[in-house]
């Protein structure tokens, strides 16, 4: 294992210390239990958005705490859900009296821990709504699995839901906006290389020099199919077809197109992917109304990308354009 760390056990804590030192204008960091809140929390009268999950997906979620996005983020150990005591404390720290929304990616651990936290908060009179993200088309949504995983749409939901909360929309409406994003967002990922969890010390899976894994999750979970590496045009065609056919996205739809790097893929390749994606969507008469290109929901140092399409109404586009000021995403301010 070759990493810029001191002790694998301290990676998350030292990362939090770095964030605290780097962004005192944006966030405050709490330790024991650990969570990040926006510097001006709690914002009175505003619905608060709390998310969280395993670490290793930076900048998500901690890098999205601030004006126009999340009120709090709870970091777990690398690829491990945070715990109910963190979520409980974070929820109370950001509750401005208008209620709190938990944005939960659909993983068994995240769901159970957030459920326990919501039970705790509600038992003490804090109004909590939970919204699940499950947008990964690589996973069959059936009774026989834990359901689809939450991936790229999470970033778009945190931005759009955050903007709706910033407009002082009430709890139920902000939750509905978040659910609209989930209902209209679909993603798929792929990997060229594996990643190494610091505490594990070796790559999560083996993959040959000439191979790729289509349908990879953001924790190095094996995906849909292992196959020989192909040119970007064919890879994008395969992924975009699966994403577009799922909703389905139709001729005349406006979308936010999100090409995300998995952590180890340079921007030059992400633009190659975006170029192919734009061509593909043009061929289907789907309009890219907005785009986001970069590494926002990562899987440590994994090389690869994911493609997310969100069918966006005018309201969602307006909320997307609203000002945001976080470490990981910033415009309009």
């Amino acid at each position: 294992m070759k990493k810029l760390i001191n002790d694998p056990q301290n990676v998350v804590r030292e990362e939090l210390q770095g964030i605290e030192l780097a962004h005192p204008d944006l966030v405050r960091v709490s330790y024991d239990p650990s969570f990040i809140v926006r510097a001006d929390a709690p914002v009175q009268g505003k619905v608060a958005l709390v998310s969280g999950g395993g670490s290793g997906h930076e900048p998500m979620h901690g890098g999205f705490v601030g004006l126009g996005m999340l009120d709090a983020a709870c970091p777990g150990e690398v690829f491990t859900s945070p715990t109910p005591d963190q979520m409980d404390a974070a929820t109370k720290a950001v509750n401005g009296g208008a209620g709190v929304i938990h944005l939960v990616k659909n993983y068994t651990g995240d769901v159970m821990n957030f459920e326990m936290a919501a039970e705790l908060c509600r038992s003490e009179g804090v109004e909590v709504e939970s919204v699940l993200v499950d947008d990964d088309v690589a996973v069959q949504d059936s009774l026989y699995t834990a359901g689809r995983r939450g991936v790229g749409t999470t970033v778009l939901m945190e931005k759009i839901g955050g903007a709706a909360a910033e407009e002082r929309r009430p709890l139920k409406e902000v939750a509905d906006v978040c659910r609209e994003v989930n209902a209209n967002g679909r993603s798929m990922g792929m990997a060229l290389t594996s990643c190494t969890v610091p505490a594990a010390g070796k790559p999560t899976f083996d993959i040959g020099e000439e191979e790729m894994e289509i349908g990879i999750g953001i924790h190095g979970e094996p995906g849909w199919e292992r196959m020989p590496l192909k040119p970007a045009s064919e890879i994008v065609e395969m992924m975009a077809t699966a994403v577009a056919d799922d909703l389905p996205f139709k001729q005349g739809d406006n979308v936010i197109a999100f090409v995300n790097g998995m952590g180890g893929t340079p921007l030059i390749e992400l633009y190659v992917v975006f170029n192919e994606l734009a061509r593909f969507l043009d061929g289907r008469g789907i309009t890219i109304a907005r785009n986001l290109i970069g590494s926002y929901i990562t899987s440590l140092e994994m090389a690869g990308c994911s493609i997310t399409l969100l069918k966006a109404s005018d309201d969602l586009l307006r909320l997307w354009d609203a000002p945001v000021k976080t470490a990981g995403l910033r415009w309009g301010v």
């Binding site: 239990p33 395993g54 777990g76 150990e77 690398v78 690829f79 491990t80 859900s81 945070p82 715990t83 109910p84 005591d85 993983y107 068994t108 651990g109 159970m112 821990n113 459920e115 326990m116 996973v139 069959q140 009774l143 026989y144 699995t145 834990a146 995983r149 969890v197 505490a199 594990a200 999560t204 899976f205 999750g217 924790h219 190095g220 979970e221 094996p222």
Partner: protein, 211 residues
């Protein structure tokens, strides 16, 4: 035979030692069909539980189990935290206020623990989860008591049944948890959660019914 506070204290210490010993094995099982953190997470939680033991007022067995459960909930993370946390919390609630547990008390505690884990994780038998070791452990224990077995013998039969249940997860296709995403590819691998659950039931037998 009956089990007192000291025995439960020994059980927690032994399970922490077993988990520390099997950490890499559990993580290796998890990397085949999950996300390669089960041993690491369980070890972090049991080490934190160990640290709580010394501050615990001796006497109440239920309070000890409950303290372990709360510690696991707040330190393990993943799915293992809520599930093992719930398991120990339920053992604690079923034995609340007791200084000694008899064979029938353990039957009630095991039954409550299994019900709690199922309620939290919504897993059914053969979903390839912890439950596949825990349900056979509970059933074999109850059957043994029904046959007139001693407490110690019932614990041994419970551990043997858990081991069989764990091994029976190998051919199963996972229907819960992260392994379920693999579909047919999850077959052929032993479930890490069933393995750590077997280790728990086995440690109970080894600690309380050992020679």
């Amino acid at each position: 035979m009956s089990v007192g506070y000291e025995d439960v204290d020994r059980l927690i210490r032994s399970y922490a030692a077993v988990i520390a010993d099997q950490k890499d094995y559990l993580t290796q099982l998890d990397s085949a069909i999950g996300d390669a953190d089960h041993g690491i997470n369980m070890n972090r939680g049991m080490q934190a539980a160990l640290a709580k033991l010394d501050g615990q007022a001796p006497g109440d067995v239920g309070a000890l189990f409950k303290a372990v459960g709360m510690t696991l909930v707040s330190t393990v993370g993943g799915a293992g935290g809520p599930l093992y946390g719930t398991l120990f919390l339920q053992l604690g609630m079923a034995t609340a206020g007791k200084e000694v547990i008899e064979s029938a008390d353990w039957a009630a505690a095991l039954s409550a623990a299994v019900a709690g884990v199922q309620a939290r994780g919504k897993a059914e038998p053969e979903d390839k989860t912890m439950v596949d070791a825990l349900i056979p452990a509970r059933d074999a224990y109850e059957a043994a008591l029904g046959d007139g077995a001693t407490f110690a013998d019932a614990l041994r039969r419970s551990a043997a049944a858990a081991e069989e249940g764990m091994k029976a997860t190998i051919p199963l296709v996972a229907r819960k948890g992260r392994a379920s995403y693999l579909g047919e590819r999850s077959a052929g691998h032993q479930d890490p959660g069933a393995t750590s659950s077997w280790l728990l039931v086995k440690t109970v037998a080894d600690t309380w019914a050992g020679d």
